[in-house]
Amino acid sequence: MDRIMNYLLGSRHRLLLSTVLVYILLVVIEGFIMDRESRVYNFENPYFELNLNNIDEFESRRPRDR
């Protein structure tokens, strides 16, 4: 355990990554539990809904007449 901690916190870069990762993880868990919903951005621009997992769907949805 000690050695893992020493590794994760051993250089400034690893420390940054570890801290940010833990933070993001907590944010995600909290958002999941509390069921947070976005109130702000629901952009119309289709590029904002670009999700690499759905690239095919995106291709078919993209407006042709521009």
Binding site: L15, T19, V27, E30, R36, V40, N51
Partner: protein, 283 residues
């Protein structure tokens, strides 16, 4: 915590104020001065009849209103001060753990028997607890001068302003509310404080760019790769005007112990722990 520890922490706070005097003391003071000048100029410009009529209407409106109910109205005056406070706070935080590494004076600080935790905590307390004091005072002075001016004017135009004292009381109470609002706002944004301090301690140059860039990158990455917006939602939950305003002391404690506030403090603490640890790397 015994006396010695408190004394040592206090000198750390004083050291922060010595270094950042211009950001936290001079800026609000200058703003007060500017707004006073603006006020004076307006008073001189507005024709006498309009002034008398405005005072008459104000007098009628304020008649019988209690100071406590009145104070929130005064808080409008604090808006520019709080804006200045936030801008100065960001500047302060970006440099807090960066500047002394740039000019090597960090080696002096590290040669003192002060723990990294105490160092970082002192900076957090400075920005969240101490700096708002000067903001509240500066805006308070403006409010009080305005109240006194209006009362004198009212007397001059023989307009009934229902007593100077309730107004003054409202003014003083509003100073307290302004302080609590600023304090609460800073605590509410503890995650952002922690984020900036983390990058302030990490970056070898351009810490603000790092803090901002990393954040934007993460938000975009999350959406592009996972299609989720947890990070964005989390940050967005920190905005919302009504989360900040404190209209009564009861308000303050209610907000302070709300779930959102507490979870924010916990997450902010995670980032601050990172910043404390990052302080070990002085090269």
């Amino acid at each position: 915590m015994n006396d010695a520890t408190l004394g040592r922490f206090l000198i750390l706070l004083r050291r922060e104020m010595w270094e950042s005097n211009r950001l936290f003391v001079a800026s609000p003071a200058v703003l007060t001065g500017l707004l006073l000048v603006a006020m004076l100029w307006t008073l001189l410009q507005v024709p006498t009849e309009m002034k008398a009529e405005a005072l008459q209407q104000a007098g009628a409106y304020l008649d019988g209103v209690s100071p406590i109910d009145l104070s929130p109205a005064f808080m409008v005056a604090a808006i520019p001060f709080v804006a200045v406070l936030y801008i100065c706070s960001v500047i302060y935080l970006v440099n807090a753990l960066y500047h002394d590494r740039k000019d090597s004076s960090v080696l002096f600080w590290q040669s003192m028997p002060v723990s990294n935790l105490a160092t970082v905590l002192a900076k957090v307390v400075t920005v969240c607890v101490v700096a708002p004091l000067f903001t509240a005072l500066a805006s308070g002075i403006l409010i009080l001068i305005a109240v006194i001016a209006v009362s004198i004017l009212g007397a001059g135009y023989e307009v009934e302003i229902s007593g100077v004292w309730p107004l003054l009381g409202a003014g003083i109470y509003s100073i307290v509310l302004i302080y609590l609002t600023a304090l609460l706002g800073s605590l509410w944004l503890l995650p952002m404080v922690g984020w900036i301090l983390l990058f302030s301690a990490y970056a070898r140059s351009l810490p603000f760019l790092w803090a901002l860039g990393a954040f934007i990158l993460l938000v975009l990455l999350e959406d592009f790769v996972f299609g989720t917006q947890f990070l964005g939602n989390w940050v967005e939950s920190r905005t919302g005007f009504y989360n900040y305003l404190v209209f009564s002391i009861g308000d303050f404690f209610q907000r302070l112990f709300s779930y959102d506030m507490l979870i924010g403090i916990v997450l902010g603490a995670v980032l601050l722990a990172g910043a404390v640890n990052m302080r070990r790397f002085t090269d």
